[in-house]
Subunit: 346 residues, 2 copies
């Protein structure tokens, strides 16, 4: 399988995505192409040997070949004709906006490009934490109780403290505050409103245990990673969360009973199937009094959470093998013919 | 305001969209461009005088200039350079898949093209009738009780009859059946599963009153159409529903108390604001025992429901005037610089 990794994007996680791609390059030990989406949403074909941070931070990437999306793939302009970038499957590794909000999924679905990543509907439901809660409830998975605070609306609901305030549509802990008492509330809301008009407010539970489980469905069978209990301070910040992709830390399976492990996997299955088919996702769960709560869905986890899998490369190739394109609808023009017959020339 | 109308798409409503565009051309009495998306999802620039059904049913459109989407707009290839199609705002008039499922919204948001139509998140929530129900509930608008029937899953819930079975993701009455007793159930499910893996089943209420209300928000003020009580047989079929765009039928405001009219408008506002900003939508409601129920959201109504408005052209221009593009995120590369400092060359 010849993969291309798509990374960058007009996203607060643009730089994280570059790191994520550089790490994934080392992990996937096969012939790869690299497609960079810059902050202006132009695509560039990056040669493998130039996949380092300097290429991007100095904007040297602008000297590389620009790529355009058209039906069937990515193309560059040649002297006499357009050249198609050879690749069988694109890995969507843009984190946050563009990559996880549904834009890239829509482009690939529209232009019939095979890809690993959440489809359009799955992207929208996992990108917005409020929608994630509605979706989880509809498939029978619990989430923590919450209140929405919206820009420009005077909320009548009384918040209790300590609480955690999160912009509805951002990952990577950006814009999140823990508010210990009322006097810090306005500032935390202002911080959140810098990033989103909708804020999700949950009770802050200091000693809550978090567990991460990644996986995907391949021909109706689930492949799961180990269950990780991420280390944390109050909550993971930007750098901590992402330097972990490279698998520098030794990884130990979480110390949980078999029963709880099965419960986590069952919840994962309910979330994944069938909405997330085609993607390799990570679900972050809480466990409280032996009950499972979904915290968030990460539909393009950093470096696709390779460090959690025993045989990541085999999983990725098998996943790609069975992804198919959206079925095209055939247009007959029978309706136009029939109304022309009835009503005269349209 | 120079508009371009985008129509067609790989959708069961492809032909309807052509009719919708031909009708809208007659209604908008100003300089217009026409962009056709054919069944293979290629774009063509159609000259105004060729906007008739024959151009499409005979595939004569293939002789017209092909257009490509790139940052900032639609372009055609010229002899020495690319030519940009001059237009200030695109009206998304693709009905059903592509136009209403979020693909076109995503393309336009990604490529910074100003458009009238639902944004990405609004598209996904209104395209899927199950998600529409979850969304309506979350903003405090009632919908009829329902059961989901999913392909390949043995539903344990007992259905009662008569019921109406609808594919979750299609408009225009396609794939919908009214099932009067159990013996017709399997056939109706098969019909529905031709179009979608998820079916919404509701109790069929024979004498339910339906009311349609269209509108949009312009600078924080709502502009509403008149409230229409559509004529119907058991339910509107494909041709009936769409031949109505052209406003051949005389239109009479529904006979409702002022109180119920205000209730309908209040429900519309809850659905619209802020999710549907930038779109002119039609909400179809039921009234049962003086209570309002949302039936469905039509985010790109046929010919934009022009026939319901007193001064459609002014509304459309004012709506377009205040639409802005998604704010771009500026990338600083501070993070890449900082981890390079800490960890050596990445």
């Amino acid at each position: 399988m010849k993969f291309a990794i798509l990374f960058g994007g007009n996203s607060y996680e643009h730089e994280i995505s570059i790191v994520s791609a550089v790490v994934l390059k080392k992990v996937i030990n096969q012939n790869l192409e690299f497609i960079f989406c810059d902050e202006e949403r132009r695509f560039y074909h990056i040669p493998s040997e130039k996949m380092n941070s300097k290429t991007f931070s100095t904007k040297a990437y602008k000297k590389e070949k620009e790529l355009f999306i058209k039906q069937g793939g990515f193309f560059s302009k040649g002297f006499l004709k357009e050249n198609k970038l050879e690749c069988e499957c694109v890995i969507n590794l843009i984190h946050g906006r563009d990559g996880e909000d549904g834009k890239i999924a829509a482009l690939f679905e529209f232009y019939s490009i095979k890809f690993i990543g959440p489809r359009l509907e799955a992207s929208v439901l996992s990108f917005n934490k409020e929608l994630t809660k509605l979706y989880a409830k509809s498939v029978g998975v619990k989430t923590l109780d919450y209140t929405m605070v919206r820009k420009g609306q005077n909320s009548k609901e009384k918040l209790s403290f300590p609480c955690i305030i999160k912009p509805a549509r951002l990952g990577s802990s950006i814009g999140i505050s823990i508010v210990k008492d009322e006097k810090d509330l306005e500032y935390a809301k202002d911080v959140g409103f810098e990033f989103d008009n909708d804020l999700v407010v949950e009770e802050f539970k200091n000693n809550i245990k978090e567990y991460n489980l990644a996986g995907c469905m391949i021909n109706d069978e689930f492949v799961f990673s180990i269950i990780e209990e991420p280390k944390k301070k109050e909550f993971l910040d930007f750098e901590q969360k992402y330097l972990s992709f490279s698998g520098h830390n030794e990884l130990i399976e979480a110390n949980l009973s078999e029963e709880l492990k099965e419960k986590l996997k069952d919840s994962f299955k309910k979330i994944y199937n069938p909405l997330f088919k085609g993607a390799l996702i990570r679900c972050d769960f809480f466990i409280l009094d032996n009950e499972i709560y979904l915290n968030e869905i990460n539909p393009n986890p950093g470096s696709l959470a390779n460090y959690l899998f025993k045989d990541f490369s085999t999983t990725l190739n098998a996943l790609a093998d069975q992804i198919s394109l959206e079925k095209m609808i055939k247009i007959s023009y029978n309706f136009l013919h029939s109304i022309n017959g009835q009503k005269g020339k349209l």
